[in-house]
């Protein structure tokens, strides 16, 4: 390999302090890498852009788009649903969210909102009967223990798992005799994306590791992820392990794909990323369609997968959450090898060196570095191009939302008129598809930018299904009235 020669050129960084596999507190890392740490801390103060960015109190999506309340009727998201903001907030925003305080949530929620991996490891080690000392916990990543811990706590109660976090040393808090509090809970931190020994980027999230392996084992063509194709070509031996097989450029997206993805996260089964059939909206849908919840403790059948019963209509539906990684996968940037980090963590020159901006944020607040290195056009022109894309998407979201809302009215009306479950079944199927697709694009956070044509296609399908459901209702109404008359 030609790059081997340069590798010698990289002088090992000078560690001011040691960090290890338990160092969830970013502070000591910050002593080694003050620039990255400083940037990271800035994730508390983003501006607000047209369709993204931050606020002191991020705006409520439910207020801005009242139809969302009807879409989520019967689900926690109808209580509160806000714009995302900087990484520094992820844990506190979750803790105070009425979705968590008013509804019993699962421990898996913390998978993406906290530096939880050492806690998984600790619990995994404990389950295996190993003695867990701070030193043992710090020694290595210990994949098996992490996976075991992940499986063990995902379905526990949120509050219990949050407490577990504080029972894991974080590398800074000094344990006091008799105090069960061994560390603080931290939002996403250096250790989630970096190997503490070498600083190489890596993925740590069990949900992602299992999901990407399922994807590799599927036959979905993934031209934007060449290492998966290579792994398949090499005979698909064992598991696809992103930390072994992925290119560095792929890892620059995978670290984000650990969390910015569609998931199932509640107490009926372990946290799941639905990538077994591929990364397109219908591949994910197919996986949910095929999923059966596992038997409960008493041996009762779990039944078909669903996220919630839509309150107005009584239909069992799916909830889509922030599928940024999946939508990006369908776009031209992914195809051209452009990673999340290229845009959201662009290089910046600091003194005599280049560093990745750890102020992860909307690229629209940083167009110069995020876009203009590749696109040599004026900043305003880039803004305008993004607006064209996002405005078209928003226009279609509104169109699909109108159709969905009319659909709810139509279904409610036929139900009141006495339609039978049998008659309603095909209509409910259409409803589920329509809602899934609308939610998919509206809860994706780039307003279509990550894959403009795909976003429009998905919304076109949503409109189609919603209006088909309406037509079927009217037809049923006609019949019912006829029969009734």
């Amino acid at each position: 390999n030609i790059f081997e020669r340069q590798q010698e050129a990289r002088t090992p960084f000078v560690k001011v302090v040691e960090v290890s596999e338990i160092s969830t507190d970013p502070e000591p890392w910050g002593l080694n890498f003050p620039q990255q740490y400083e940037d990271y801390l800035r994730t508390v103060d983003d501006e607000y852009t047209d369709y993204g960015g931050n606020h002191a109190l991020p705006p409520s999506k439910l207020k801005e788009h009242p139809w969302l309340k009807r879409l989520y009727a019967g689900y926690a998201f109808s209580i509160e649903y806000r714009e995302a903001r900087g990484h520094a907030y992820m844990l506190s925003d979750q803790e105070v969210s009425p979705r968590v305080t008013q509804v019993q949530q699962a421990g898996a929620c913390l998978h993406c909102h906290a530096a939880i991996v050492p806690t998984y490891r600790r619990i995994g080690m404990e389950e295996a009967g190993e003695e867990v000392t701070e030193a043992a916990l710090a020694e290595s990543f210990d994949h098996d223990a992490v996976m075991a811990g992940f499986r063990a706590v995902s379905q526990h109660n949120y509050e219990d798992v949050l407490k577990e976090l504080e029972k894991t040393p974080d590398g800074v808090v000094k344990a006091e005799a008799g105090d069960p509090h061994l560390g603080e809970a931290h939002p996403v931190s250096c250790i989630d994306c970096h190997d503490p020994e070498t600083m190489a980027i890596r993925v740590t999230r069990p949900g992602f590791i299992l999901g990407i392996d399922k994807l590799a084992k599927s036959d979905d063509p993934v031209p934007h992820l060449p290492s998966i194709q290579k792994w398949r070509d090499d005979g698909a031996q064992g598991d696809y392990d992103p930390n072994v097989h992925a290119t560095r450029q792929e890892l620059r997206s995978f670290v984000c794909g650990q969390c910015h993805v569609e998931y199932y996260c509640a107490n009926k089964m372990t946290l799941t990323y639905p990538w077994g059939n591929g990364l397109k909206v219908e591949d994910l849908e197919k996986e949910w369609d095929e999923t059966q919840f596992p038997e409960d403790a008493d041996g009762n059948e779990g039944g078909s997968f669903y996220d919630y019963v839509h309150k107005e209509t009584g239909t069992k539906v799916y909830k889509a959450q922030h599928p940024e990684f999946e939508l990006w996968s369908q776009g031209i940037h992914a195809r051209a090898g452009v990673s999340c980090s290229d845009c959201h963590m662009p290089y910046e020159k600091v003194g005599a060196t280049k560093v990745s901006s750890h102020w992860v944020r909307s690229p629209m607040t940083n167009i110069n570095k995020a876009c203009q290195t590749c696109h040599h056009v004026a900043e305003q022109e880039l803004k305008d191009r993004v607006s064209v894309i996002q405005d078209r998407t928003v226009q279609l979201i509104d169109r699909a939302a109108d159709a969905c809302v009319e659909m709810f009215d139509a279904i409610v009306a036929v139900q009141e008129a006495g339609a039978t479950d049998e008659e309603l079944e095909p209509i409910r199927d259409l409803q589920r598809k329509a809602m899934w697709r609308l939610d998919y694009i509206s809860s994706e956070n780039s307003k279509g930018f990550h894959a403009r044509q795909e976003a429009a296609r998905v919304l076109a399908e949503s409109v189609d299904y919603a209006r088909q459901a309406i037509a079927q209702c009217y037809r049923l109404e006609g019949k019912t009235e006829e029969e009734g008359s």
């Binding site: 790059f3 340069q6 590798q7 450029q249 005599a352 060196t353």
Partner: protein, 173 residues
């Protein structure tokens, strides 16, 4: 401009020696032979095979444009951010001795062959081996700045500089 990397004048003499050592006779067998040998010691072949092959030995960009197929690259280089700091050879030749001469031989031979046969892609598509040469050239000059981009651990790959800096050597690329 990196003077230390420009080929010293005496190399030209070395070339003529090589030329007499491996007389070039047209014919399929020789072409085949040349393809193999060109990789290692073929410095002589292109000078012989194509009159202006000696341009490879000069650092003057104009001599690359002796071939009109190189004209647009010359033009786009002139408009690039680097025309004042790097000439063709700074980017398209390895910055260590052996590699430099192997590349000269290799490219020199294939350029001549391709140019004569006319069976190349237009626009020209750079080949993986030559991509590595340019990548190394970037690093050679910008080593300190791009230090954090270098592999963290042995064997790790790294990003291609032109993934982002598309128009450094050639404007509007």
């Amino acid at each position: 401009m990196s003077d230390e990397s420009s080929p010293p004048q005496e190399q030209v003499t070395e070339t003529s020696t090589a030329k007499s050592a491996f007389p070039f006779r047209p014919g399929k067998a020789v072409v085949l032979f040349a393809v193999c040998m060109g990789m290692l010691i073929g410095i002589g072949f292109f000078t012989f095979g194509y009159g202006k092959g000696a341009s490879y030995l000069s650092n003057n960009p104009q001599t690359c444009a002796n071939c009109h197929v190189m004209q647009s690259h010359m033009d786009s280089w002139q408009q690039s951010s680097h025309h004042a700091v790097a000439v063709c050879n700074d980017c398209h030749l390895p910055h260590y001795f052996l590699g430099k001469w192997v590349t000269k031989a290799d490219n020199g031979f294939f350029h001549s062959l391709a140019f004569t046969m006319g069976n190349f892609k237009d626009p020209i598509q750079i080949k993986p081996r030559n991509k590595r040469v340019t990548q190394n050239a970037c690093i050679h000059c910008h080593q300190d700045l791009v230090h954090p981009l270098l592999p963290d651990v042995r064997g790790q790959d790294m990003l291609s500089c032109v993934h982002c800096h598309t128009s450094v050597g050639h404007a509007e690329r």
